[in-house]
């Protein structure tokens, strides 16, 4: 069977349709069905992952079919392919997504209102996420990318906290702002790129990555002599637009303000999906699309991209330090951790980009764990102010153990997964100065300061909330409510903790899959980028 990726995408859609047809009374079926479907997805991706490791290079599980094929007379044909495949860049993220969705499905036991609508949207979201990581046709990618918005909007808006309306529309507006302009660049690229086999325009991302496929005088061609817009090379503008779209998703400073709101208002499972999967789409998009299609702009702007990464690391960490709400603190720590991803990518070294992918996956697991842990106490006392708790370790010792693992992993303790990701991105950033001279060494040093602040806020929170004599805002009532973990909670937390430790000790589990692809990618981005840059500079004289 060779259409596993389609199965991955359409399995949840089929399940969603079945759920829609079930009567509302069958409310106790919805969650089990969703759990089974996401478990199946996880198993399929695990199988694909092991298959991929047998020959970890190039594109695997390729599926390609005509989707929209129109003859537009003098304008040639409009070709949109249903083109799916995975490589070392996406297979790890795909595995992460399936796993996080599985955990989120289990964690959805707190959802009591409208289970039918909730799980239908959940499954639809799952399908879109799988599609985003598999699509290699830009149009198809865009469709899945936008398909995530509507379910996410309702998941935050209908099951969220008191300020959910504001948070959900803010999330929607920010993302749509990025993606509408992405659509314009996508159209521009389409009319510039020619499929070398058929000679027609194409949305195929792989063709967009090769400068030879651009028609000579098109706006996005590197050989064009007049591709300037407002006296600026069109390709650079295209890069900036795409970068902004994905930077909103990651999110980086200054486009991050939707994230804390969304996290604070979203229910626990939705926060888990948001932090565990959706942010990664931003990083994935930058690597695959921004850097893949516009390597010269990536090199040209690498200093600024690295700077954005460093500022995100520091800014996120400082705000996390000042946060009084535990969930908000974790949301800002996400921004800080995703800053490492940007920094790693900007370094354009094998270590940096491998580290960025590792960091994304590690952060996916850790943020899932962190948000779930916040959900555990929020479910018990409907409060998550850091100041409201003291000495939590006494009534909830086992819970505290998991918190300690998650916190230490996040602050970068060697032996746990967070360390590997951060260390590799830092090595990459540091090495960049001597290898390709894209980033100054100061960036790596500043980023290490970010780790230091990270250690500060995690340890400080640990000290404030968990140690000392128990004293809670809700006094005696809370003492009764704050019971230790339940069976379901163990079911969620144990695998997450194990994976964190496993990845910390055997990082090669992930590097084996990504390494070949990334090495080739770094090499090609560099070679093409420099060549394109030279050609553009001589033709456009900017």
């Amino acid at each position: 069977m060779n259409n596993w990726l389609s199965v991955l995408i359409f399995l949840p859609i089929a399940a969603a349709l079945i759920l829609l047809l079930l009567p509302k009374r069958a409310s106790n079926v919805f969650r089990p069905v969703t759990i089974v479907i996401s478990l199946l997805q996880t198993l399929i991706v695990t199988y694909l992952y092991t298959q991929y490791l047998k020959n970890p290079q190039g594109y695997h599980f390729v599926e390609r079919a005509d989707w929209i094929n129109l003859n537009l007379g003098t304008f040639g044909r409009l070709n949109i392919d249903y083109f799916l495949a995975v490589d070392g860049l996406s297979i790890g993220l795909l595995l992460l997504s399936a796993f996080v969705m599985f955990i989120a499905a289990i964690a959805s036991n707190e959802i009591k209102k409208d289970p039918k609508a909730y799980y239908t949207l959940f499954l639809l979201l799952s399908a879109a996420i799988m599609g985003v990581f598999c699509a290699l046709d830009f149009f198809l990618f865009y469709v899945f990318y936008e398909l995530m918005l509507l379910p996410m909007y309702f998941l935050i808006g209908m099951w969220g906290g008191p300020n959910r309306e504001y948070a959900s529309i803010k999330f929607f507006l920010y993302t749509l702002f990025g993606s509408i302009f992405m659509l314009l660049v996508m159209i521009g690229l389409y009319f510039s790129v020619i499929d070398p086999v058929t000679g027609e325009h194409t949305f195929n991302m792989l063709y967009m990555m090769d400068a030879a496929n651009y028609t000579k005088d098109s706006y996005f061609s590197i050989f064009s002599t007049d591709a300037l817009l407002f006296n600026y090379p069109v390709r650079f503008l295209g890069f900036i637009v795409l970068f902004i779209a994905f930077a909103i998703k990651i999110p980086t400073i200054p486009l991050h303000t939707w994230l804390p709101d969304a996290h604070v208002e979203a229910p626990t499972p939705v926060s888990i999906i948001l932090a565990g999967v959706l942010l990664k789409i931003g990083g994935y998009g930058i690597i695959r699309i921004c850097y893949g299609i516009f390597p010269e702009a990536a090199i040209y702007f690498s200093y600024w991209i690295g700077l954005i990464g460093v500022v995100s690391i520091l800014y996120g960490a400082f705000i996390a330090l000042a946060s009084t709400d535990l969930k908000r603190m974790i949301a800002y720590s996400s921004i800080s951790h995703m800053g490492f991803v940007i920094l790693g990518i900007a370094s354009l070294t094998s270590e940096g980009v491998n580290g960025a992918i590792f960091q994304m996956i590690s952060h996916g697991v850790l943020s899932t764990m962190l948000f779930y842990l916040v959900g555990v106490i929020y479910l018990r006392v409907q409060d998550r102010e850091i100041a409201a708790f003291r000495g939590l370790a006494q009534p909830m010792p086992r819970y505290t153990l998991f918190v300690v693992i998650a916190f230490f992993a996040s602050l970068g303790l060697p032996g746990l997964s967070g360390f590997i990701g951060e260390a590799f991105t830092l090595i990459g950033a540091f090495k960049s100065a001597s290898v390709n001279a894209l980033l100054p060494r100061g960036f790596a040093i500043l980023a290490s300061v970010g780790i230091l602040i990270g250690a500060a806020y995690f340890l400080w929170t640990l000290q404030r909330m968990f140690f000392g004599a128990p004293r809670f805002k809700g006094a005696q009532e809370w003492h009764l409510k704050l019971k230790d973990l339940t069976a379901t909670e163990y079911l969620v937390l144990i695998p997450l903790a194990l994976i964190t430790i496993l990845l910390g000790i055997f990082p090669s589990i992930l590097f084996d899959a990504s390494n070949n692809t990334i090495n080739a990618w770094v090499h090609e981005t560099w070679i093409h980028g420099i060549a394109n840059l030279k050609s553009m500079q001589s033709l456009l004289k900017f």
């Binding site: 509507l150 309702f154 209908m158 509408i180 159209i187 389409y190």
Partner: protein
């Protein structure tokens, strides 16, 4: 002798022309039949059934007119023209009118008013709209614009219930009169200098181009005013919000789309006859560049429509402004007047027709079932009508242009067409239009989702539970929603078909 030959040629050509109007005769026949039945039988069911049958029948007849050649048929010495492109426009309009009548026959409010005219005027209205799409001579253009306006006034008047709403009917008429006066004045100026009213006259452009520049600008500007009124584009959009607010949503199914489609057909034909590429070359006057002109209109329309929609509190006013913004999107198909532009325009009109019809059916449904008129009335509606609410979400998502719905595919084609026009001419106005349209899409998310937020995320402010009549949702709205999804995912067949017959 010469006179005799001329007369004879007139007669023979007329003999030829008559048969191209068969759909219109059948509509006329059904109108008379409806009048007759209303006078002698007073049977509403029979009347509506006949009207639905008649309009569908005319649709079939129109469909059969699709010819294998793409040539433009000259009818009545060039007073009217018929081509496959025009037939597609006519089919779209027929579809709207048909859906409208079917839905209207289920509306209890219309039944209570005992207005049979509401139904038997529909075929007549359709004739007027068809004439408008076929007009190729300034006289027929003027006549059919007037005819369409008259029936529009009639429909507004028929659905007005109380006196406060009479204001909207009055506004409509006054604005309509102003627009047609401007149109007429523009036509007479043009006639004075071109010496002919026929747009197809070979000498028309040459003579007209000799007129002084300000006169050309004035006369075309005045004619455009008349057109812009019909498609509810800025700056001739002022009537729309008031008219929408005062009219029942059922009537708006017809009035919000049908004249607009006919208006775009007329606009497209007019630009085609004007062959404005040549026009630009003859005049070589940068200010009178069609692309710039249409771009500016589109930009103003998009900005006004989307930003004013943000502050509305009445659902129909909001839809009116949203409709104005949609007009701006449609104009993008005409900029540059490329073949892909016309296809994008036709496809988006189809998409717009489906979305808009479904939207107003649902709004009318909420009016009838829950007396929801203001945005505040939509609070918590999902608890009362879950199915209708979810259907409305799909419609609005499609309006915004979220994939994989038909609105996205349509906007994608429009953006592509504009991009092509921009590449061809490097006219910065087109680029600004594209960017404005992108921003308008984002803004549209905001105003459509005010409604969705009210429906899904807020609690109802009043409690009144009517027994839900859901069959209309299953039989009429659900198929439209499925069409929105189907044409969104698989647009190839329909576009290929349109493409194959018009080019």
């Amino acid at each position: 002798m010469e006179l005799y030959q001329t007369l004879q040629s007139l007669v023979t050509s007329n003999n030829l022309s008559w048969k191209f109007l068969i759909p219109e005769y059948s509509l006329l026949f059904f109108f008379l039949l409806g009048l007759f039945i209303d006078l002698f039988f007073k049977n509403k069911k029979l009347l509506t059934g006949l009207m639905i049958a008649g309009i569908s029948f005319s649709g079939v007849l129109t469909f059969q007119q699709i010819s294998s050649s793409i040539e433009i048929q000259q009818l009545f010495n060039g007073m009217l023209v018929l081509s496959n492109k025009i037939i597609v426009f006519k089919l779209l309009i027929t579809l709207v009118v048909c859906l409208f009548i079917i839905f209207a026959s289920t509306d209890d409010r219309i039944k209570k008013q005992n207005t049979a005219e509401y139904f038997y005027l529909a075929p007549l209205f359709l004739i007027a709209l068809n004439m408008l799409t076929m007009s190729a001579h300034m006289l027929t253009i003027y006549l059919s614009v007037e005819m369409v306006s008259l029936f529009s006034y009639g429909y507004v008047a028929l659905s007005i219930k109380d006196k406060s709403n009479a204001e909207s009917g009055m506004k409509y008429i006054l604005f309509g009169l102003l627009a047609s006066a401007l149109l007429l004045y523009g036509i007479s100026l043009m006639y004075g200098f071109a010496g002919t009213l026929s747009l197809q006259d070979p000498n028309f452009l040459a003579w007209f181009a000799k007129a002084p520049m300000p006169i050309i600008a004035l006369s075309i500007g005045l004619i455009m005013a008349g057109f812009l009124f019909k498609i509810a584009a800025a700056p001739f959009h002022f009537y729309a919000p008031d008219v929408y607010q005062g009219t029942s949503a059922t009537t708006l199914i017809l009035l919000s789309v049908a004249p607009k489609i006919a208006g775009y057909a007329l606009f497209a034909n007019f630009l085609g006859f004007f062959s404005f590429k040549i026009f630009n070359q003859i005049l070589f006057w940068p200010m009178y560049n069609w692309e710039t002109f249409l771009s500016v209109i589109a930009i103003i329309t998009l900005v006004i429509g989307s930003f004013v929609a943000l502050s509305q509190t009445n659902i129909k006013r909001l839809m009116a402004y949203a409709g104005i913004a949609q007009s701006g999107f449609l104009l993008m198909g005409l900029i540059g007047y490329t073949s892909i532009g016309v296809i994008a325009l036709l496809f988006y009109l189809l998409a717009y027709l489906i979305m808009n019809t479904a939207a107003f059916m649902l709004i009318s449904y909420f009016e009838q079932q829950h007396e929801a008129y203001d945005l505040a009335d939509y609070k918590g509606l999902v608890r009362k009508s879950p199915l209708a609410s979810i259907l409305l979400v799909v419609v609005f998502a499609s309006f915004i242009g979220l994939p994989p719905l038909v609105g996205f595919t349509g906007k994608f084609l429009l953006f592509s067409a504009s991009y092509q026009a921009y590449v061809a001419s490097a006219n910065p106005a087109i680029l600004i239009t594209i960017i404005t349209a992108a921003i308008a899409s984002i803004v549209s998310l905001f105003y459509y989702f005010i409604i969705i937020r009210n429906m899904f995320m807020q609690e109802a402010t009043w409690v009144k539970v009517n027994k839900e009549e859901q069959s209309i949702l299953y039989f009429l709205v659900l198929p439209l929603i499925l069409a929105i999804i189907y044409f969104g995912i698989l647009p190839s067949n329909i576009i290929s078909y349109i493409q194959s017959i018009i080019a």
